[in-house]
C-alpha cells in the first residue's frame, strides 16, 4: 500500500493528519502489517495532555504487546471508540476507519520534526 501523500509520519510508524490546530493520529500500514492481527487497543483518555514521542497506550496483536507513541503533543479530544468492539479495523483500514485518536495540538510546529510520505517510505524499505 502506498503511503498517503497528505499525511505526516513518525519513525515509530504513526501517521498524523493535520487540520489547523487539530490532528488525527493512527498507525501506518507497515505497522499494522508488522503487528499482525490486532485484538486490543488501549488509547489515552479524553482530556489528557500527552507529549510528543511519549508512550500513550498499547496495541496488542495475537502474539505481542506493543507500545503506542504519540507523534505530536496535545490534548486528547476524541478517541476511536469503535476499536473497542472492532480492533481489526486497524488492520483493515489503518488510514481510515482504524484511526486512533484526535488531538488539540500544543505546538503545531512539532510537525516539522515529522517525515513526509517519501521520507517515511525510505525508513521501511528493505
Amino acid at each position: 500500500m502506498a503511503q498517503p501523500e497528505d499525511l505526516l509520519y513518525s519513525r515509530e510508524h504513526e501517521w498524523v493528519k493535520l487540520d489547523g490546530e487539530s490532528a488525527t493520529i493512527g498507525i501506518t500500514d507497515y505497522a499494522q502489517e508488522q503487528l499482525g492481527d490486532i485484538v486490543y487497543v488501549e488509547l489515552p483518555k479524553i482530556g489528557t495532555e500527552i507529549e510528543q514521542f511519549f508512550n500513550v497506550g498499547v496495541i496488542e496483536s495475537v502474539k505481542a504487546v506493543s507500545d503506542l507513541f504519540t507523534p505530536m503533543s496535545g490534548k486528547v479530544v476524541e478517541i476511536n471508540e469503535t476499536l473497542e468492539g472492532d480492533p481489526a479495523a486497524v488492520n483493515r483500514e489503518p488510514y481510515g476507519a482504524g484511526w486512533l485518536f484526535k488531538l488539540k495540538l500544543t505546538d503545531p510546529d512539532e510537525a516539522k520534526s515529522l517525515l513526509n510520505a517519501a521520507a517515511y517510505e525510505k525508513t521501511t524499505a528493505g
Binding site: G36, D37, V39, V58, V62, K63
Partner: protein
C-alpha cells in the same frame, strides 16, 4: 540460525520468519487468525521439521525408556504412538515427547528447544548395550496436515487407507511416491496427520499438497496459529505449562504418569506430589474483558498473589474470549474461582474454568 528443508517454500509464500528452537521458522504466512480458522474448519499445513527426531534401536529400548519416562513404553503396540514425559529427579519436566513404535526402530519426537538437552540426557543414561541412538534432528522433515478436511485432502496422495488408521497410530506408506511414516497425531485439537519423510522429498510434497488443495481451503500455517490452536485445545507447551520446575502432575497430566511402573526418574517426587495434593497447578482462566492475558502477568485472589499467567490468547473457537493458563495455588485453582489478573498495574477480573477450552465435535 538453522533452516528446515522447507525454508525456501516459506520464503516463496512470504512467511514472517522468527527464531524458534534454533531454527528460522514461519510464525505466520498471512494472518494467525485466518490460519487458525483454516485448521478448525478445513485444514492447515505445518512445517514441524524443527522438532527433534531421534531414532532408537536395540532390544533394550522399551525397558530402558521406561526408566526415564513417566508414561509406559514397553506396553505400546506395534505402530502405536504415545505421549510421554521425561522428568528430572525433582519431578520437574525435562521434556514432553511422543514415542512412535515403528517396525524396526522407535522414533522419539522431542521439542526443538529441548533437542540438544534431550540428546545429552539420552546418551548420558544409555546402557552399555541394547540401545543405539541416532540423531536425525534437522536431517529428517516433518509435515503436519491438520483439520476436519485433512483426511480427504491427504488420501489421494497416499497408498494407505487413512480411514483405517486409528488415532495415535502410524503406518509406513508413500506420499506421492515418496516413502513416509504417516501418523494420525497432532497438536491442534483437530483430526490430522503427521508425515515423517526425508529432507530431500519434503519441498515437493509440501508444494504439491498446498497447490492441489488450496482451492478447498488448505492454508500454510505458522507457529502463531499452532500456539492458539493448542492453547484452545488445552495442550501444554514446553516452556509455558511445562518447565524444569513444573511437573507433569502440576500440568494436569497425571494420566501420563504411571506410578505403577517399578521405577522411573522423578517417580518418588511425583508420587509425593500426588499423595500430598497440595501443589500449585495449571488451570484454565477466562478474562472478563477484552485485554489479552500474557505470560508472567501476576494473578491475585482475595488480595493475595496466588500465581501467574503461563500462556494467553484470544480464542476464536471459544466465542473470541480471552483465555489463558495460569499456575495457581490449589485453593485458587478450583472451577469458578474469581481471580484478578494484574495487567500494566491494573487488576482485571477473570474466572477459573475447566480445561480444555475447546473440544471438537466427534
Amino acid at each position: 540460525m538453522k533452516r528446515t528443508a522447507l525454508h525456501g517454500e516459506h520464503v516463496k509464500l512470504g512467511a514472517k520468519l522468527v527464531p524458534f528452537g534454533g531454527f528460522e521458522m514461519p510464525v505466520q504466512y498471512s494472518s494467525i487468525l485466518k490460519e487458525h480458522n483454516a485448521v478448525r474448519h478445513r485444514a492447515g499445513l505445518f512445517d514441524l521439521s524443527h522438532m527433534g527426531q531421534f531414532w532408537l534401536t536395540g532390544d533394550m529400548v522399551a525397558d530402558w525408556a521406561d526408566t526415564l519416562t513417566t508414561n509406559a513404553v514397553a506396553t505400546m503396540k506395534p505402530m502405536q504412538a504415545r505421549y510421554n514425559l521425561f522428568c528430572n529427579p525433582a519431578g520437574g519436566t525435562h521434556d514432553d515427547t511422543i514415542f512412535y513404535r515403528l517396525e524396526n526402530r522407535w522414533l522419539l519426537v522431542v521439542n526443538a528447544s529441548n533437542a540438544d538437552k534431550m540428546w545429552e540426557h539420552l546418551n548420558a543414561n544409555r546402557p552399555a548395550s541394547g540401545v543405539e541412538l541416532e540423531n536425525q534432528h534437522g536431517k529428517s522433515a516433518l509435515i503436519a496436515i491438520q483439520g476436519p478436511r485433512s483426511l480427504a485432502m491427504l488420501q489421494p496422495h497416499v497408498d494407505v487407507d487413512l480411514e483405517a488408521l486409528k488415532y495415535y497410530f502410524c503406518i509406513e506408506g508413500r506420499v506421492d511416491g515418496v516413502p513416509a511414516t504417516i501418523a494420525r497425531t497432532g497438536y491442534t485439537g483437530e483430526d490430522g496427520f503427521e508425515l515423517f519423510l526425508s529432507n530431500d522429498a519434503a519441498p515437493k510434497i509440501w508444494s504439491t499438497l498446498l497447490e492441489s488443495h488450496r482451492g478447498e481451503g488448505l492454508e500454510a500455517c505458522g507457529l502463531g496459529a499452532r500456539d492458539v490452536l493448542r492453547l484452545e485445545a488445552g495442550m501444554p507447551l514446553y516452556g509455558h505449562e511445562l518447565t524444569e520446575e513444573i511437573t507433569p502432575v502440576q500440568a494436569g497430566l497425571k494420566w501420563a504418569v504411571k506410578t505403577t511402573k517399578p521405577e522411573f526418574l522423578g517417580k518418588e517426587a511425583l508420587e509425593g506430589q500426588i499423595h500430598g495434593d497440595d501443589y500449585s497447578r495449571i488451570a484454565g482462566v477466562v478474562m472478563g474483558g477484552r485485554i489479552p492475558a500474557r505470560e508472567g502477568y501476576p494473578v491475585w485472589h482475595g488480595g493475595r498473589l496466588v500465581g501467574s499467567i503461563r500462556s494467553g490468547s484470544i480464542a476464536p473457537s471459544v466465542d473470541n474470549k480471552n483465555v489463558a493458563t495460569a499456575l495457581l495455588e490449589k485453593a485458587a485453582a478450583t472451577e469458578a474461582t474469581r481471580l484478578e489478573i494484574e495487567i500494566r498495574g491494573t487488576k482485571h477480573e477473570a474466572t477459573v474454568v475447566p480445561l480444555p477450552f475447546y473440544k471438537r465435535a466427534k
